[in-house]
Symmetry: C2
DNA sequence: TTCAATAGTTCAGGAATTATGAACTATGTG
DNA sequence: CACATAGTTCATAATTCCTGAACTATTGAA
């Protein structure tokens, strides 16, 4: 045990910005990563809360848990989700409603754009004779 | 002059993705930087074309021209603007209409969110007794 | 209480990306 | 031609991102 530094690797409580602190820049940055959009979409989709490790990427290989943890942190600190310890695991809820009050239509537009993009990609893949990869 | 490598620092023609190649991810990434949003807003605002160096940041210090050049490249390669040489200078036009056909409402929502954010920041600054910085 | 298991965080370093001064290209004008 | 202007490209420094290893926190036995 580390005696000299009592406050060291101590797990700080999760950071959640107040809704007025949420910036467009941070939201766009958070959602400009495909893994994070997928995570966020899943959390918004399920209305019940989601634990971190329940996320499995669609086609690709597994994502290391330290990386996942960072992705969740970015989403939290952008104000898009709220994480809360529930026993040994973490439960994440979307802050969609709050954010939508702050920036009406922003998340809806981004979500719709992603849906369109995925739909077009699927169509293009079918046409060229290949499915997912 | 460099004799050995004829094709070296040769300036390649500007890259512009076809509109179907434009991804939501690239758009969000491009617009998640305050300097780039400001540039894009200015190009969309003026309906006439804009040369690169006519951009001056609002409150901050001048941005080096190599950095500006990279920002324009990111916007171009995201499909948000089109750059075209006109004599010695470069003219930039927005591809707003094309992108809006691809992803209806996306750019409008982002623009509106930014407007809201700037408005709120101004109001907060006035309340706390300070103007810009 | 102590040990083990589970879920996620933090740290350290390397990988990847971004910023920028210096050198260069490209075009227009004496 | 030389020179000026506008922007790009290169090289490298600064920054951010990814990830294995070590850690914290909580639960559930033994």
């Amino acid at each position: 045990m580390c005696v000299e530094e009592l406050e060291w690797g101590a797990m700080r409580p999760l950071v959640h910005p107040a809704i007025e602190e949420v910036t467009v820049e941070a939201i766009l940055h958070a959602l400009s990563d495909p893994v994070r959009v997928a995570i966020f979409a899943e959390i918004v989709g399920q209305e019940c809360t989601q634990k971190c490790s329940s996320f499995v990427p669609v086609g690709g290989e597994a994502i290391p848990k330290s990386t996942l943890s960072q992705h969740f942190r970015v989403l939290r600190e952008a104000g898009l989700i709220r994480g809360e310890r529930r026993g040994v695991e973490m439960h994440n809820v979307s802050r969609y409603v709050e954010v939508d009050q702050m920036y009406p239509g922003l998340l809806a537009a981004i979500g719709q754009a992603h849906t369109l993009q995925v739909g077009r990609a699927a169509k293009a893949a079918k046409k060229s004779g290949k499915k997912t990869k």
